[in-house]
């Protein structure tokens, strides 16, 4: 009886481990831009408040930091879960490569510590620290966000471009070059790509809330400022991202040809490869459907050689060392989504920047605001799509050319249970997060009884020697 029960519960853990890791990462990555970029956006508002004596900017900065306290808390715990999952889901990977792969995380821990400390000081320091010292306690948050992102992306890049270790004949890591692990070949471009992504997603996300408010008629200075500060950050980041992305794609073409073949859906090595929009691979591995632009994929890969550029096909590696046809479809679709939405967001950014440069004002069109209000969600979809490209595109490897995902996974047959539990818990936490943020925004709008005396005021008990507020 109990044996029968156990055999029913004993399910191959690999697909469940992949699902759980994918789901928890997909959840966490939405909070990353808020943790990394919102601090900077808040400091811009804070700076403006202090430098130009702008009361609205001060209220914005203060409220943003309160939202940030909530999103950072959820980001911190969902990040902690990822730390557990490296062991719980991928113990054989960590057991074998932890001595190399772990190093960037040790550095990340440092930055995360700094971020948590100064975020606490900044968020809780509004009332009783003096204005400029308080502003400066926010700066380490921004630096730590950048450093932390670089470290985590370095670890991910290492999975794509493993370097800095020596294996003995038994496959055990016997020597490590920490520098080469962290600064592996894929690290610089991947890091810049993710950092810029964090800033543009964070900017679009925050701005979209105020775009929505403006559409509903709240067009006062406060709401305009709440829109302009984050949207400007995003609009400046977006064109940069297109250039970085283009550079990274060409880097993948040169260094990770199999991933590139999946991205461009190229079954056989060829020149004059068309750029296929959408479409899929059929059971024979041939491209079906979609809209083909003749020669364009080749041209993009190396404009110098134009359409005669040869792109390596999926067939150049054995079937068990490349993504399956289904995975290729996913990678290709995710790629199309990322590039398509990225282009749309770039046009939106250029519209905004152009109007600003030539007319010195916001675009007046309601259409602009409508798209801007959707840009938050769209940029998150773009971010997720980009992450799918790099992760699914590496399959079946967890460490490219060294270890397959199935060999890194846990043997625990109960992973499906934890996956379901994670699904449930994260659904509750995610919905609660959105409801709580909305509740806070309503409370702020009602006149914010919770804010008490406002920032930078002397303490009630002891009169401050400095005059309150902004000098």
């Amino acid at each position: 009886m109990s044996n029968a029960l156990i055999s029913v519960l004993a399910v191959n853990p690999v697909p469940w481990a992949r699902s759980q890791m994918a789901f928890t990462l997909a959840f966490h990555i939405v909070l990353v831009p808020l943790g990394v970029a919102w601090g900077f956006i808040t400091l811009v508002a804070n700076y403006r408040a202090l430098k130009h004596d702008d009361a609205d900017a001060l209220v914005l900065a203060q409220r943003w930091s309160k939202y940030m306290a909530v999103t950072f808390a959820v980001g911190a715990v969902s990040g902690t879960v990822l730390t557990f999952e490296f062991g719980l889901l991928w113990p054989r990977f960590m057991g074998r490569f932890g001595d190399a792969f772990g190093i960037p995380f040790a550095i990340e821990g440092l930055f995360f510590f700094l971020e948590a400390i100064f975020l606490a000081i900044y968020i809780y320091g509004w009332k009783r620290l003096k204005p400029w010292p308080h502003f400066w306690t926010g700066v380490p948050i921004v630096i730590a966000g950048i450093g932390g992102t670089a470290s985590v992306v370095a670890a991910n890049a290492w999975m794509n471009e493993p370097a800095g270790f020596t294996l003995n004949s038994a496959g055990k890591v016997v020597d490590v070059d920490p520098w080469a692990v962290v600064f592996n070949k894929a690290m610089p471009l991947q890091t810049i790509h993710m950092l810029v992504a964090a800033y543009l997603v964070g900017g679009f996300l925050v701005a979209s809330v105020y775009a929505w408010a403006m559409l509903r008629g709240r067009r006062d200075h406060y709401h305009r400022l709440g829109f302009v500060i984050p949207f400007t950050v995003a609009a400046l980041a977006m064109p940069v991202q297109m250039l970085v992305g283009d550079e990274l794609a060409r880097w993948v073409y040169n260094n990770e040809p199999v991933k590139f073949a999946a991205i461009e859906m190229v079954p056989k090595t060829a020149s004059d490869v068309p750029e296929t929009l959408f479409g899929h691979l059929d059971s024979d591995g041939q491209v079906k459907g979609g809209i083909a632009i003749p020669g364009f994929a080749s041209w993009l890969s190396d404009p110098a050689d134009g359409t005669s550029t040869v792109i390596q096909g999926l067939d150049t590696v054995p079937a068990d060392e490349r993504p399956t046809n289904g995975e290729v479809d996913v990678v290709h679709l995710a790629w199309d989504v990322m590039v398509g939405l990225g282009t749309l967001l770039t046009l939106l950014a250029l519209w905004y920047l152009g109007t600003w440069v030539f007319r010195r004002r916001l675009p007046k069109s309601r259409l602009f605001l409508w798209i801007a209000a959707g840009a938050g969600i769209l940029s998150v979809v773009t971010l997720e799509a980009g992450w799918v490209v790099t992760e699914v595109g590496r399959q079946p490897w967890i460490v490219r050319n060294f270890m397959k995902v199935e060999h890194g996974a846990t043997a625990n047959t109960g992973v499906w249970v934890t996956f379901l539990a994670v699904l449930l818990i994260y659904a509750v936490v995610g919905v609660s997060l959105i409801l709580v943020l909305r509740l806070m925004s309503r409370r702020f709008r009602k006149g914010a009884p919770d804010e008490g005396g406002g920032p930078y005021e002397p303490r009630d008990e002891t009169p401050s020697p400095e005059p309150a507020g902004v000098s």
Partner: protein
């Protein structure tokens, strides 16, 4: 070299026990504070006490995990494979705990506060229990070497694990109560000073009793660690006992500041005693630290990171606690407390 990294790991575990532990304990007192009306005052002290510092306190856990998997990856693999269940439970608890605590501060309806509060408080007990059970599993030699899995259930449902779990919960509650006596005094909540002082004394006594029972449990179930505690680690054990009794005496004599310091000493020496007792093993008595350790360059990078942390993080942490203790950090007022 592996010994240096082991010491770093112990520093991390001790810091997590002292800072994160007090945080969990605060959740324990939240759980036992009673209904919305009766529990209002203690919960106010709890929220005030851990509000600004809880995230920084829990980074120590990440620190420990990272040092473990980078420095002793094979042992890490064994531990996570064997202790899948308690570690998964702990991870879930951490999510629920942190998220609910952040949410509770921002919601205004009593029922929402109660729901988030319950999730926060219940997971504050679950997580340290699981961590203590994991420590018990390692100490009693139930985690096999070579990145292989031990028994999925017996490994953490056994006398030493139960001892570890119960002791962890009690010690967390004790630490938190001692800290909050101090915090309540700073807040001018005199009734709460008494409230937490009584609880600090109670948990100190209970923790002492559990520790005494624990000696017998370890004697039967975790012989290597028992022998270590009675030999190499004996000075630490004695010191812990002296600190514990001393803090109890000071609590009874209403010397809060001294009691707090001695409580820290009592807990820190217990944790370090465990480490010294199972030396030179990371998984007694199968895997020695030196055999489990990563190549030297990896260990060196851990040391370098740790030194940088000591130079950069410690002053920052000091600044945070200084500002917090000087009341320069405004804990967000609990909406339910102020409005209506």
């Amino acid at each position: 070299m592996s010994d240096v990294v082991a010491v770093i790991l112990m520093v991390g575990i001790t810091a997590y026990a002292l800072f994160g532990g007090a945080d969990f304990g605060a959740g324990f007192w939240d759980l036992t504070a009673g209904g919305a009306r009766r529990g209002e005052a203690p919960r106010r002290v709890i929220g005030h006490s851990i509000g600004p510092v809880w995230e920084a306190n829990h980074v120590w856990l990440i620190f420990c995990l990272v040092v473990l998997w980078t420095g002793f990856s094979e042992a890490f693999a064994s531990i996570t494979l064997t202790l899948f269940v308690p570690l998964s439970l702990a991870a879930f608890g951490i999510v629920l705990r942190g998220a609910s605590f952040a949410f509770r501060k921002e919601v205004t309806r009593t029922s929402s506060q109660r729901n988030f509060g319950a999730a926060f408080a219940a997971s504050s007990v679950l997580v340290p229990y699981c961590m203590g059970a994991v420590a018990g599993a390692i100490a009693s030699g139930r985690v096999p070497p070579n990145g292989t899995a031990g028994d999925a259930w017996d490994s953490w449902v056994n006398p030493t694990s139960v001892l570890g779990g119960v002791l962890a919960v009690t010690v967390c509650a004790y630490l938190a109560a001692v800290y909050m006596v101090w915090d309540a005094r700073r807040m001018g909540e005199h009734e709460m000073v008494e409230y937490f002082r009584r609880r600090a004394v109670g948990t100190a006594v209970v923790a002492g009793i559990i520790a005494l029972i624990g000696i017998f449990v370890l004697h039967d179930d975790a012989r290597y660690v028992f022998d270590g505690l009675m030999s190499r680690a004996l000075p630490l054990v004695i010191l812990s006992g002296i600190c514990g009794i001393g803090s109890l005496v000071l609590l009874l004599g209403r010397n809060q500041r001294g009691a707090r310091l001695l409580a820290i000493g009592a807990v820190a020496t217990v944790v370090m005693g465990w480490g010294v007792a199972q030396y030179p093993y990371i998984l007694p008595t199968d895997l020695e630290l030196s055999a489990a350790a990563s190549p030297d360059p990896t260990l060196w990078s851990i040391v370098v990171v740790f030194v940088i942390a000591a130079v950069v993080i410690l002053p920052s942490l000091g600044l945070l606690y200084y500002l917090d203790q000087r009341d320069l950090l405004e804990t967000v007022t609990e909406p339910g407390v102020t409005s209506v």
